[in-house]
Symmetry: C2
DNA sequence: CGACCAATACCACCAGAGTGGTATTTTGAG
DNA sequence: CTCAAAATACCACTCTGGTGGTATTGGTCG
């Protein structure tokens, strides 16, 4: 299939469905991807997976089960989507928090384990919504190269506006509010008969997203050393003693409701 | 209910079922436990959960789903069971590998997240089988105290031989062979078109069980520094770069089959 | 008002993971 | 037998998390 045939199909696509059919076979082949997914983000609501192509059954199940409820909250693309104004194509590793890879706990948990690399774009639709499309490569495969990124960036010039156009007229059918992570941590703590401060909840949320103490400090405009203090008191209140345990609480409790 | 009533019921119990009914209500109350379980271990086969009382629904489901297939392989009680000759009552934290708690990834994954403490016994039945009973306390609760341990140890003098007696005449109905962890890692690596050495597979298995490099060295009779080398080459071959990613591979791939 | 707590900041120390080396011995396949 | 790979050992370094302190400020509640 020719590149211009592909772009022609994209141009005439009038629905998410036809868009999916136009791009999935072509992109997955052109970039040797082992997964491809498109997600409609909302700043304060649960996201909607527009379509996903994940041949590996186990991974697909994990993704379906966990991403829409909780996983998206630790997806760097989700946060990135509301930071860019127009649209942006990028590699996951370029926008991920500094400790994202070593705290693989999460990506593992949501079925991305073997995605050694992810290349995609985010595009803002309006103040509260955005759309995201990405392709993943599995372990055993090479990471995306510079020319992959460049080439994808060029496609994104067409794909991003087109997908936005399709979605802009489409009313959201799911309007389930999603509590932000810090709120969820706060609620979880109270369910455990302890009370964490607002700051501590914020820190907890950023930790599980993969930020180091230092990075959290920069983000909150406080010292990384202060973050360590919050960390300590947080752990003490939740009677845990490590980051992994915090992940565990999130997965088993914070994710349980909402 | 009186302690001697309890012991009387235990004494006359003639089946796993009646044993369960005799002990679960009493022990869970007497020790303020939030979970109680009994497992029949086999050195080379999948274990059989004799009974389990886990009121929390989420935890129960996680446990049911993952423990019997894979989780038991990283359960310190499982390994302990085949090290003691007769029987032994102990705290989980006393027999757990040194990095077991901080690499909570696993306990989280198998539904033990909130078990801040676990008290139980293991009793050998014959060369290849053993039985294990334990109670867990959740987060938010105190850990078991010395007098809890002492008291439980006294009960175990009756419970362990009794449970062994019940099981000794009971033929195993499940005879599903379970590949040891190192073998599974080896197979997983080959499925990924790479070949890890025997030593590397051993190291991988010990890592996910929660041992530090130093502890692995002591266990294998080699230097902890050598273990670090194995670790490095292992990570390189699997194209990962951290322990958490190794956990992820185990959970999503090594556990998939077998 | 005083007691208390949250939030801030900073210091020092340790353990462990991860990474970059070098070098020797053992072992197994060709 | 030879050569390459595996296994062993050791060194040095950085980064981070986790833990133990101290101290100041500002707000809240009894």
């Amino acid at each position: 299939m020719d590149e211009y045939d592909f772009l022609g199909d994209v141009a005439v696509a009038g629905s998410v469905d036809s868009f999916d059919r136009a791009i999935t076979p072509f992109l997955s082949q052109a970039f040797h991807a082992k997964s491809l997914l498109a997600i409609h983000f909302h700043r304060t609501r649960l996201p909607k997976v527009l379509f996903r192509w994940i041949p590996d059954k186990t991974l697909r199940q994990l993704f379906d089960k966990r991403y829409e409820k909780l996983g998206f909250m630790v997806d760097p693309f989700f946060h990135r989507a509301f930071l860019v104004q127009d649209w942006e194509a990028c590699l996951l590793r370029d926008i991920a928090p500094d400790r994202f890879e070593s705290s693989e706990y999460f990506t593992n948990y949501f079925g991305d384990t073997n995605m050694v690399d992810e290349l995609g774009f985010v595009a803002r639709i309006d103040n509260d919504t955005a759309v995201h499309l990405s392709m993943g490569r599995n372990q055993g495969q090479r990471r995306f190269r510079t020319n992959d990124v460049v080439r994808f960036g060029q496609f994104a010039k067409i794909l991003a506006p087109k997908l936005r156009q399709i979605l802009i007229n489409q009313p959201a059918d799911d309007v389930v509010e999603a509590q932000p992570l810090d709120r969820r941590f706060h609620a979880m703590a109270q369910a455990r008969h302890t009370n964490i401060s607002i700051r501590e909840a914020e820190v907890a949320a950023l930790i599980v997203q993969g930020h180091s103490s230092r990075a959290i400090g920069l983000k909150l405009g406080i010292s990384g050393l202060t973050v360590k203090v919050h960390r300590r008191t947080l752990y003490k209140k939740l009677s845990i003693s490590s980051q992994n345990e915090l992940f565990g609480l999130l997965v088993n409790y914070v994710g349980a409701d909402a």
